[in-house]
Symmetry: C2
Subunit: 144 residues, 2 copies
DNA sequence: AATTTTAGTGGACAAAGTCCACTAAAATGC
DNA sequence: GCATTTTAGTGGACTTTGTCCACTAAAATT
């Protein structure tokens, strides 16, 4: 088990990293979308026939809140709603071409951010970074 | 430089990790404090004679917002305000004993969270985790 | 000494998110 | 198959969180 000091450094890292990502996320905000709106749009884009409820539960959002976000998206012509063929309570969401291009833009900026984040590092440091992150990812998220 | 796929996994990690920390932070919220309030209280505790403006700028908060948070803290008897001896515009903040014990509680819970986070991992995996995180920390934050 | 900057506060507001109630359809229990 | 319960989606009302602006009084600058 880890020592108090090790736990303390993990907490510090978490704090700093949260802050860093927060700053990065603010910057993505140079799009017309808030952070949560961005997540919702990307979630819809992953799988072009998501229902609102699936989006809400995947992102851990209130369904009412999600409904309003989706309504705004529709108003701004980012998505289409179509009635589900299998469940008439339900709605299928799909991106409009405007939606598609906004998603592309979001992805481009996110990639650019990672690039910026790593631009201070040498090529070999970038590899080190990637490998260390892969270790964390496996340990935390990819356990079978 | 990193490939598109590598960048993409970094983004995935960031997303998942943000989500994980977000969930963890929600849980700390079983205290009477919101996340930002917790950060403010801890910031004050680090250094028991901080001014509001120092807190605000260290945490990147609006000074007016910070002022209100501090006001609430005072009302709830978590901190004391005393006039600065060197600058009469300024205020020195210090924790009351209630404040101290809340800080202790916050720290305890944060440590517990890290513990929980790592409890699925074996001892050697925990070491691996710690080492990988240290690599990231050095690469991102500890460059001289 | 006059001007500008800074610390702190409060009003007014905007943005983000939560909670509750409701409708209509689907699923479940018998 | 019918009655009951659950589920998807929406909207109203509200709280929490955070921003922006204006102001006072003290400090720093010129």
């Amino acid at each position: 088990m880890l020592s108090q000091e090790e736990i303390s450094s993990i907490r510090n890292f978490n704090r700093d990293y949260t802050k860093l990502l927060g700053i990065m996320n603010k910057k993505v905000l140079d799009t017309p979308l808030s952070w949560t709106e961005g997540r919702v749009l990307l979630e819809i884009s992953f799988n072009n026939d998501k229902t609102p409820i699936a989006v809400a539960s995947n992102l851990g959002l209130d369904k009412s809140y999600t409904s309003r976000i989706i309504k705004r998206f529709e108003k701004n012509n980012l998505i289409n709603k179509s009635p589900s063929s299998t469940d008439s309570r339900s709605i299928e969401l799909s991106l409009t071409s405007d939606g598609e291009s906004l998603v592309k833009e979001l992805n481009k900026r996110s990639d650019q951010q990672i690039d910026d984040l790593l631009s201070n590092l040498s090529s070999s440091e970038q590899q080190e970074f990637y490998q260390a992150m892969t270790v964390l990812d496996n340990l935390l998220f990819n356990r079978k």
